[in-house]
């Protein structure tokens, strides 16, 4: 595919500086704490998989990497420049070096697939419509979609097709860092493997780094150079790290940490009982609050 011309060409990554550095990151939404003191380094060219059960903060971590969610504490640095120190314009320009594949594809409902994929090209390049059409057609072919989808609206496509169209849009500006939010969730095994193959192909592009958030072990084993596993903050002790595993897929298989083993083997163990206890605890808190309110009224 021809690389589109960005208005102001960004600098290439320096080999000594990590592409992305997350420094002691904590994220809270009101009283709800999602991430606590998470530090992470991303080397140019690698594929990092972030594993973890639902609600442990994987997507929040992914969105802080691109500045969609601002950290409560800590810093995210892209090539040694803090995202927090950037102006809105600088951040917008930096994002041309990112590609983000959303869980539900997040294609614009009102636009055709062609317009969706062309959007970043129209926004950030001076290419004429013929060149944009050529790039869009190449991208659609690259992700294995027929040309006929170009004129269709997202609602007319299947889940797998939408995900691939989302990937095509994310690749439109030849990004250095591609972020995938649960790329295979909700897809059949064959389509999941198609997406995994596409992630591997993206990985083969020069200087392209991937971060894949998933709880699909097949995806993790197939695409990862390195895996980290996040654990829900609510079940951690005060001084425990939220990243409970870092290593290669092979190291993940032989991990002796019972929390890691429980996830990789997909066993509920005592989890159902824990969930029931949490539910009872929540109900008793709710009842106590209701009683307090009743007493207030009396």
């Amino acid at each position: 595919m021809n690389a589109p011309v960005i208005e102001a060409s960004p600098q290439k990554a320096m080999p000594t500086v990590p592409l992305l550095f997350i420094d002691s990151l904590s994220v809270s939404f009101g009283n709800q704490h999602v991430l606590r003191n998470v530090s992470l380094e991303l080397t140019s060219g690698e594929t990092l998989v972030i594993l973890g059960e639902s609600g442990c903060g994987k997507t929040v971590l992914l969105k802080t990497m691109i500045g969609l969610i601002k950290p409560s504490i800590g810093d995210v640095r892209f090539e040694d420049t803090s995202l927090a120190s950037m102006t809105e314009r600088q951040l917008a320009h930096l994002r041309t070096r990112y590609g983000f594949v959303f869980q539900g594809a997040a294609l614009f409902d009102s636009a055709t697939i062609a317009d969706n994929i062309a959007f970043p090209l129209r926004e950030h390049t001076q290419l004429d419509e013929d060149e944009i059409t050529k790039i869009v057609t190449e991208l659609v072919a690259e992700v294995g979609l027929p040309r006929v989808v170009l004129s269709k609206k997202p609602v007319e496509l299947s889940g797998g097709m939408r995900k691939r169209a989302g990937l095509a849009r994310a690749l439109a500006l030849d990004p250095h860092l591609v972020l995938y939010d649960e790329p295979t969730t909700g897809l059949d095994p064959i389509m999941s493997d198609v997406i995994n193959e596409l992630i591997l192909r993206v990985h083969q592009r020069p200087e392209t780094t991937n971060v894949v958030v998933t709880h699909d072990m097949t995806t993790a084993h197939k695409v990862a150079d390195r895996i980290i596993m996040l654990y829900p903050l609510s079940r951690l002790k005060e001084n425990e790290s939220q990243i409970i595993f870092t290593g290669t897929p092979e190291e993940l298989d032989i991990s002796t940490d019972p929390r890691v083993r429980q996830f990789t083997e997909g066993k509920a163990g005592q989890r159902l009982n824990e969930l029931r206890e949490e539910q009872i605890e929540n109900q008793s808190i709710f009842s106590a609050n209701a009683n307090d309110q009743e007493n207030d009224h009396e």
């Binding site: 691109i66 869980q103 409902d109 009102s110």
Partner: protein, 290 residues
């Protein structure tokens, strides 16, 4: 035993103090939420105006919003205007006839329409039709991460999603108000002439005598503010929509309710200000209908 009896009044006093403390805390909480909300909408509005001035809108982004707001609202606004005019004729006729002033019906119908009812009822109708739709559309885009997708591609969602809708409302709601005024005047005349049998010459002669350009422009001037209020309040609700279908529904409902309340508040204060201006321009005051 005696200690238990002695502690009862103390407990009652503690309960009363606690009850008051909770109520004060609730009021404080409400005040903080309200101030934070107003501040949030103000910042949102300033960012919208900033993007409106900073970068020219693309035609292909602007036109769909204009079509949605303007063209698709035309039938309902025409119908609203037509019926307001006719209802005004129905309601005013008996009173005017009792005074023997039925030929002056045109002046009161048209004056009410262009100064007050045309702009306010057109804006209310548009807050329901356009405002709720904008909030629901943007809310759905928020919930399905389409707004995040825009940001992740280095595009500004305010520029792409809010400014076109704001411009559409700002330009087209006054235009639609003119349409509502016209249809109202027409509806009032048709009913008065065809059903109530009022002579057309006196109807129009009295209308011309009691209404001037200021009355008409006053209504149009107010509708610019109504348009801006509908767009900003509705887009803000859509942008800050909670998750799920319930969140989208609540955003659409709140967009209408808050827009409507703001229209009424703006109408009052703009009405007072414009009346003072009219007194200043025309110190002899308006002609009495009697």
């Amino acid at each position: 035993m005696s200690s238990t009896v002695a502690s009862q009044p103390e407990n009652t006093a503690d309960n009363v103090t606690g009850w008051f403390a909770n109520r004060v805390a609730d009021v404080g909480d409400m005040a903080v939420t309200m101030v934070a909300g107003i501040g949030d909408v103000t910042l949102f509005s300033l960012r919208t105006v900033g993007w409106l001035l900073a970068r020219r809108q693309r035609r292909d982004v602007l036109m769909p919003s204009f079509y949605q707001i303007g063209v698709l609202s035309l039938p309902v606004i025409a119908l609203t205007g037509l019926f307001i005019g006719m209802v005004l004729a129905v309601q005013s006729y008996a009173q005017f006839k009792a005074l023997g002033l039925q030929t002056r019906l045109g002046s009161v119908i048209n004056l009410s329409l262009v100064r007050e009812l045309g702009p306010v009822l057109a804006a209310t109708m548009l807050a329901g039709r356009v405002g709720s739709a904008m909030a629901a559309e943007l809310g759905t885009m928020r919930v399905t991460e389409q707004i995040d997708a825009l940001e992740s591609m280095g595009a500004n969602p305010i520029y792409y999603l809010v400014v076109p809708r704001f411009l559409g409302c700002l330009v087209l709601i006054p235009t639609l108000t003119i349409m509502a005024d016209f249809m109202g005047v027409l509806g009032g005349y048709v009913y008065s002439h065809a059903i109530l049998g009022i002579d057309y010459h006196h109807y129009w002669a009295n209308s011309r005598a009691y209404i001037d350009a200021f009355d008409f422009l006053m209504g149009i001037f107010k509708s610019f503010f109504f348009g801006a209020a509908i767009a900003l309040v509705s887009c803000h609700h859509g942008f800050h929509c909670d998750h799920g279908a319930q969140g989208v529904g609540r955003a659409a409902t709140n967009a209408f309710v808050h827009s409507f309340v703001l229209i009424l508040i703006l109408d009052l204060f703009l009405g007072i200000g414009l009346n003072n201006l009219q007194d200043f321009i025309r110190p002899d005051g308006p002609r009495s209908l009697l």
